[in-house]
Structure formats: C-alpha cells, structure tokens
Subunit: 308 residues, 4 copies
Amino acid sequence: MSQEGLLRPGIAQLRVLDMEESVRHYVEYIGLELVGTGDDGRVYLRGYDEFHRHSVVLREADEAGIDFFAFKADNQKSVDRFRKNLEAYGLEVRDIPAGEQPGVGARISFTVPTGHDIQIFAEMELSDSPNAPETKNPYIWNVEPKGMRAQRMDHCLLYGPDINEVEKIFTECLDFQTPERVETPDGTLGIWMTVSNKAHDIAFVNHPEPGKLHHLAFFLENWSDVGHAADIMTRYDISRDVGPTRHGITRGQTIYFFDPSGNRNEVFAGGYTYYKDQPPRVWDHNNVGRGIFYYERQLNEAFLSVVT
Amino acid sequence: MSQEGLLRPGIAQLRVLDMEESVRHYVEYIGLELVGTGDDGRVYLRGYDEFHRHSVVLREADEAGIDFFAFKADNQKSVDRFRKNLEAYGLEVRDIPAGEQPGVGARISFTVPTGHDIQIFAEMELSDSPNAPETKNPYIWNVEPKGMRAQRMDHCLLYGPDINEVEKIFTECLDFQTPERVETPDGTLGIWMTVSNKAHDIAFVNHPEPGKLHHLAFFLENWSDVGHAADIMTRYDISRDVGPTRHGITRGQTIYFFDPSGNRNEVFAGGYTYYKDQPPRVWDHNNVGRGIFYYERQLNEAFLSVVT
Amino acid sequence: MSQEGLLRPGIAQLRVLDMEESVRHYVEYIGLELVGTGDDGRVYLRGYDEFHRHSVVLREADEAGIDFFAFKADNQKSVDRFRKNLEAYGLEVRDIPAGEQPGVGARISFTVPTGHDIQIFAEMELSDSPNAPETKNPYIWNVEPKGMRAQRMDHCLLYGPDINEVEKIFTECLDFQTPERVETPDGTLGIWMTVSNKAHDIAFVNHPEPGKLHHLAFFLENWSDVGHAADIMTRYDISRDVGPTRHGITRGQTIYFFDPSGNRNEVFAGGYTYYKDQPPRVWDHNNVGRGIFYYERQLNEAFLSVVT
Amino acid sequence: MSQEGLLRPGIAQLRVLDMEESVRHYVEYIGLELVGTGDDGRVYLRGYDEFHRHSVVLREADEAGIDFFAFKADNQKSVDRFRKNLEAYGLEVRDIPAGEQPGVGARISFTVPTGHDIQIFAEMELSDSPNAPETKNPYIWNVEPKGMRAQRMDHCLLYGPDINEVEKIFTECLDFQTPERVETPDGTLGIWMTVSNKAHDIAFVNHPEPGKLHHLAFFLENWSDVGHAADIMTRYDISRDVGPTRHGITRGQTIYFFDPSGNRNEVFAGGYTYYKDQPPRVWDHNNVGRGIFYYERQLNEAFLSVVT
C-alpha cells in the first residue's frame, strides 16, 4: 500500500504567447530540458531529476494561462476508482485518448468549481534522455544542471471561486489532505493540499474569476540555489514578483517571477515533510501576510490580483 | 487513500552505557529535546520539528545497540491488517500494551530474520512542549534550534543475516518499496526501503551477526547545517566516523559519528523524493563504494565492521 | 608594509532610546556579546569573531543615530600622520583621552562635511572573554554563535551633504580607495570606500541633512546565515526594511532591518575581495536601483529617506 | 597607503604532463577560462572573477610541479623596493623581461631557501574577455560560472627545507605577516603567510626535498559550492585527496584533489578576515591534525608525503 492512488503532479500544460522566447525562458533560464516539439507545435519539457518523459507542456495561444493540471496515478485501477468517485460526486468525466501527448497514456479530465481542468493518468514513458536520472550505479546527475537548476515541476497554485467545494472533491474523491489553510471572517481564503509527504501538491485561493493560474512551481535543491536563481533572474532581466523570501505556509524558500507571457513561476526549496497524522495548520486573516511571505509579513499587491 | 498503512519511523529505542553523558550527547550536541524520564529510568527525546511526544528512547544497559525500531501506522485498522499479514507469513506477533511508554498506545512487535525487533503502533500523544511545531499561525520554529539542529529522527540502518527474507516481509506484509539495492556476486549486500516519499525509512545490510545497529539517523535542514554539525563534533570532541560527505544511495549529504556508547549516529540532509513509479536503482560490487560514500568512492573499514 | 595606516572599522557608538530593549536586540537577536556597562551607562558589545574588547557602543539618548564611527590604525605613528594630513587639509582635529571608553587608547576626532564625527585610534585591549577567538590550537568558535550569529561589526553607511569633499578627505588624508560609486546627472549619489580588501569599510550617500546614519552592518558567515537571520527577525517581530536580497554594489547578500530605536541595521555575507589595481565600478542613475538592490532592481522608498 | 607593496598572488605557472587533458581539467571541471595559448605552447587561464588577463599558466613538461609563483605589486616603485630588500638580504635577483608572458610586464625572480622560484611584477593587462568582471553597472557575473565555479587563483602551499629562513625573507623583505604557524618539538612545521586581509596568500611546510608543490588553491563562493565541486569530482572521476572538510588553520572549507599530472589542487571557501593587530595563532604537534583537517582531527598519509 504505502502511497496509493495519486502519486504526484505529472503534467502542467501552459499557454504562452511566443514559443521561442518561452522556450528560452524555461530551458535556458529555469533549466528544464527540451524534450521535443509535437506535430501541433506544443513543446515538451522536463526537469533534470524527473524519470518520466515530460512534465511541462507549452502551447502557443493568444492568452496566457493554464490549460490543465494532471496528476499521475499509480495504476489504471486507481484511475478507474477516481472516475467512479468523481462521477458519483456529480462531476462529468471526459476521456483523453492515449497518445494525445507523445508518450502519455489515456487520461481522464474533469472541471472543478474553480473552473480548472484537472486530469489524471497512469501511464507515461520513462525518459530516454542522457540527462535523465540513472538507475545502474547512478550519479547524482549525469549532465550538470544549468540555469536555475530546476529539479522538477512541483505544484501549482490556482485561483477561482468555490474553493471549499474543490477541497471537498479533492478530499473525498481523490484522497487529498489539506495540511494548511487560511480562514478569514469572509470564509476560506486558501487551501494547500497534498497526496504525498510534500507539504503541497496543489493549492487553491478564492478568487471571483474562474480558471486562473497564480503560479507553477519548480523545485530547487536548497536556499543557495534559490539565491543563484535570483542572480539568474537579474542577469537575464526576468520579471520578478517577490523573493528570495520564505513562505510561512509550507516553509518553502522561494522566489515568484514571471515567464515572458506573464505566467507566474516559482522556484523554491525546502518545505516540511508532511504526514497525515500531523494536525492541520490554520492561519487567520491577521496573519495571512506572514503565512504567504514569512519575511515581509504582509501580502504584496500582486499576490491577490495578478493571475493568468 | 494517499499514504496508507505505515506513515513513518516512530520510535527508536537505543541502549546506552551511561545515561548522563548520553543525554548530553543527544540533547546538547544533536539538539533533541529532553521530553522526560520514565519511572524505569528510560529517557524520552524528540526532534524540534516532530509533532508527537517522543521519537527516541534511551535505555541504560551493559551493552550498546538498538532494542527495537517502531513504525507509526495511520490507524489501528492498519495495525490489525499488518498483524494478519505477518502471522499469515509465519511470524510470531507479540503485543505490547498501551502505556508501556508514556503517551504511546498499544504496539505489536515481531522479530525479523536479521534478528531485529520491529514494532508498529497507531497512537502517540502530540507533544505539549513549547518547542513543538505550532498549528495556529505557526512560526518556522518557536524555540531556536540548537546544537546540530536535528529536525527529526529519520531512519536506521540495521545489520544482520537473511536480508532478502527481510525485504520480502517488509514488502509483502508492510507495503514497503525498495528504491535502492546493492547486488554483488555473493548476493544482496544491502537494501534501502521506504513506505513514504523519502528515499529510505529503514535499510538493511547483510551481516553474519544478527540484531546489530549500524546507525540511527537524524534529519538536518541542509548542507550548511551538515557543515555546522561537523563544527559541533570537533568542538565537543565527538567521535566521527566519516563525512561531511554524500551518499550516492539516497543522495543524502551526511556525517557518521558515534554516541558515547559507541552507537553510530548520522546527521544528514537532502535526498531525493521517491515515488513508486520510479525504477529501482541498483548498485554493483564495483560501485558500492561510490554508492555508500559518493565523494570517497570507496568504503572505509568501519562501514562493514563497526556496529553495536 | 602590506596594510598600512588604517586597519578597519573599530568602534561604532549608537544612540538608542531604551537601553534594555536595545541590549536584547543586539545581544539576543543579532548575537553580539555583552562586554559590560560603563559607569556612565554606556553598554559595550562585540562580535564573537572579534579579537578586541568591543566594537559597538550603545548610549541611551533622546534621539537615535550615530555618535561617531572610529577606525583602528596599526599604530600611533599612523594616527599622528593622519592628524597631520587632516590638519593640513584644514580640518580641526580634537583629542579624546585614553580611557574615555574602557580599554581604549587615545583617539583623534574630526567632523567631515557630511556632519559625521569620525575618529581614529591605535590601541584597544584584546578581549578576555571565553567567547573570544582563540590563539592556541583555536577552535572555529569556542562558544556556539547564537541569534543571527553576527561575526563582527563591519561597516556603516552615512548620509549627509558634500560627499565629494568627504571622498577627497578620506582618499587624500586617510588613504581610502573608492571601489564603487553612483554617478547621476545631479552629481555623485553615493560612494563606497575601503582601506582594506573588503569591498567597503564605510560608505556615504548624498543627503541634505547632515550627520545621519543609514545603517550599521554586521558580517555573517554566508547566505544560509542570512536566511537564518530572516527567520530570527520574523520570530521576534523585528522590523524589517528589505531582504533577504543582494547588493549589486559590493555583491553582499543582505537584509536591512531596524533596531528598537529605529536605527537601521544590516546583516550581510559575501562581497568580493577588493584590490586597488581593480578598476573602479561605476553605476549610473538608470541602474542605481539594481546597484543597491540587485534582485528588486529598484530602490524602495525607505532607502533614500529613512535615516536616524 | 592602505594596502602597499604586494597586492596578491598574480601568476602560478604549473608543469603538466599532457596539455589536452590538463586544459579539460582546469577549464571544464574547475571552471577557469581559457585565455589563450602562447607561441611556446604555454596555456593561459583565469578565474571568472579576476580582472586581469590570466593567473594560471600551464607548461607541458616531463615532470609535474610548479615553475614559479608570482605576486602582483601595486607599482614598479614597490618592485624596486623589494629588489633592494632582497639583494640587501643576500639573495640574487633575476630579471624577466616584459612580454615573456603575453600581457605581463617585467618581473623580478629569486629563489628562496625552500628551492622555489618566487616572482614579483607590477603590470598585467586587464582581461578583455566578455567573461571578465564588469565596471559599468556590473552584473554579479556576466557569463554564468561553470564547473566548480572557481572565482580566482588564491594561494599555494609549497614544501621545502628552511622555512624559518623563508619566513624571515617574506617578512623582512616583502612585508608578509604570519597569521598561523605549527610549532613542534622538532621546529616549525608550517607557516601560513599573508600580505592582505586574507588568512593566507602563500604557505610553506618543512620538507627535506626542495622546490615542491603541495597544492594550488582556487576560491569558491561558499560551502554549497564546495559540495557542488565534490559532485563534479565524482562525476568526472577526478582523483580526490580529502574533503569536503574544513581547515582549523585559516578555517577554509575545502577539498584537496589532483590534476591529471598529479599536481594537488584545492578548492575552498570561507576563511577569516585577517588584520595585523590580530595575535598570531599557533598550533602544536598534538593539535596539528585538527589544524590541517578540522573534522578528521588527524593528518592523512598524503598530506606530508605527496607533493609534485
């Protein structure tokens, strides 16, 4: 048993305005590997420490944002169980055939009340890149990490309405936990949810407009690499939102910045190890500033308003 | 579902020769909190980032070593399931009543072929220390970590015979995975096993004498704290085995050292995030040196011979 | 010869509004050692890695700010030479007798056009604290650093008018170099000056009001300790100005924050090694934001306006 | 005045057995820039944070070792003064004409009792590489550092007889200080000398055979980069001697390793800031192990015997 059902974030598909400068951003600066370009022009990327074929997909479009966020399940039986749970809950579940993305098996897709397309799949080819993690007498890395040295796509924060309903769906249908939450007199402001020992695999913040992306996050080795990432941002004039700083929520050491299309990215390190016998951590409206930005102890204007 | 069954290492009970100098070692130097002393003289300790009452128990005895290593399960139903699995496998399962350690519920206990007493329990009181992690608008820490700044008891490496049989038991009865292993022409030298997203929760190395402890490990925040821990060791003349170095296996950045009774300790940071869809990593006898000590690229004499 | 004349910043005397909370700030939080209190109530402090008796003096007063900033010279002959230089330049040089501060020899004092009292002295007793650096088989530290782990008082940034004149005095009379400067269409905005291999020992920014303190800085071991200092600031609700961030000028990794009286402090790490055959580094008004705050790439409001 | 006379180590010329694999080692792995190759086949290299044309010269030869170690002086007047001092001391001073190395002015050369050729020069061209430090609104770095990210050639440790005599020459003729020394019942084992605020610019250990190189050292940004350098060494199978560890002497965090010709290299970070009013630090024969290798607390066999 151990970890059953969903394993982790598996694919984030982003909309970008200009593919060439987006690829430069994600590959040269963030340090993802360019896996390949599909027939329809979508570009596939992976972090150097990810075993599977890809984790980030870029699609050129007129408007920035996130097309969908997909979790990888341990097997098809789990996917079938999740479908049953979701349909019993009253959600419509759509099918995406194997091969819609190269190397990826069949996916199920459903729209949650915040307006986001969430997907689940069980099969993806392992990477055959010389840059992929090794399994026979492995080196820490085979090809030296570059740019911000992003190890993996890690999580996203999504903005939309009805997050209490979303939490119910993720908890009851998909077995998520909610290690941290922000509760204000006006209701739940945000929820940080996990299916693993990570402090969060996905998060939602309450927002009137549906389907919005706050940020897509990449994991770095440590606080030194967070500082190095900030050096990279200034050198290449990448638009920075906030950081280096730390989150009180999840404790991650972090920088928020923007890709050339205006999609917010995060690079972060650290964060505690979560177990489901830990009591939930709750933040109130007087302390949410410190919860989000532990050092600044207040939100910046962009946090609640700038999304794609 | 998500993480089902066993959650993590919950209690390690060590035998120490002199309680006073042992407490100084684990509290002043490693930085654990002294929770209290039981009526029978056993001393209870916890890492500053652990929610529960204690995780390390010291028992004064004539010989150093480990009494038992206990895993915390998510609930009693899981414990009952594991008992059934273990008995079906042919192992004798013993009962330890609630309260045998203060604040700890009923445990089951069984001896694996390597000669070690492994235990499982579902209930332990949360810590009521001002030093414990907070849940209302939590600070990163409430009381500044001291000494080596150990966050938690993390795992142990045990030495004994028949580790293939032990792997079978841990896999089939307790839902463990084996992310890494060392295979030599003479058979399996070592296995690193997990029930979580950590690279290892317990490990075994093949050894003729049963019931031996190679090391008990504590988790540090990062490589800087590993360096700081080395500064502490020299300042207080703590016997060091090897490090600061890195493991190829698990990638942890590490120091091995000894408590005053000769029990080996480890402080380490880092290590990859494991998912069960990752292919297993296998080391052969030509590379095991690099697997254990990534920088030295060879075993030291003590690694295979010095145990308690 | 090698380093001749001035060696380094030796004493900064600050005015504080409340001694008790100031001592808590500098001792408990920044981690300086409380050396003692003088008969007149002044409090003497030192960083754990400073050989001499004290480096920071706190004086209770009705208004925050800096009384004087004193450099330590290699010997009395150098002090005499500097006096001659200063008087030849046309400055009045005052005498402060040995013993005006415990353990400190005679000082000379003069007021520069920015309105600051600058002093020079050659003699100070070595620290006899068990906390002081050792000279026989020394440990890295004898007593574990605490709080923000400040190693030493490092430099100050002073605000006042006529900084070009001040640069002339420091260069011609006291042998300073100016590794970095900010030149705007309205004239020189700031100068960063050194008598050593440090990127700066003192800095001045042009400001209409004379005699102002922008910040007094303390040196930390590395970027990890900068992050730890930020953890400390939030835990103890210390007023933070900006950071963790980095300076383009000097490259220091830094946090600005305030003592309870409103005096700005800095903790920083890193910074390049300066040699006088390095060409000067010049920033223009389009880039000064990046020069001061390398990651933010713009000044915050407080940088040019909040001083004591 | 401030730093007068010698500024810093300026050029180290090493003998290597195979130029191609040596260039790979120093450029690809250590991360120096390949400046160019001279008509006589010598290869010129510089660290990314060095302003001047080159600092390391490789010469193909039948035997590894160091040809000479040269210090850069502030001006020709200082060079003339040093020549006078050296000749008055009784040493023969040789002339090396400007242009013997591209971009380098006239040098003086003399042999010290340990058998090493020490040189002094005042003029070297500034680097015109896009990789060189900038002076107009400079970035921290212009081209991202690679490999071990060596910032600069920093110092060397030389082995030979009569080090007390050498100390006298360096002190009396060249204005060096000796921040640290090892004194044994058999005499002075080693001296660490500086002309700057660095803990050492050159060091000597007593050794019967003259003219030997123990190691040439490169400066890294911090302990994280020391760990990264160790990752690089294992990945590319570079022969490692010891580390990551720390020196008690100078406090540097360090790794010793070997170039393909057997010349020992060091990468290190940290080290205290030296001022000449600091009392000297002295180690005795009971503690020299901890002085050299602070964590191991004993010398390894290679330290006193393996030189080139």
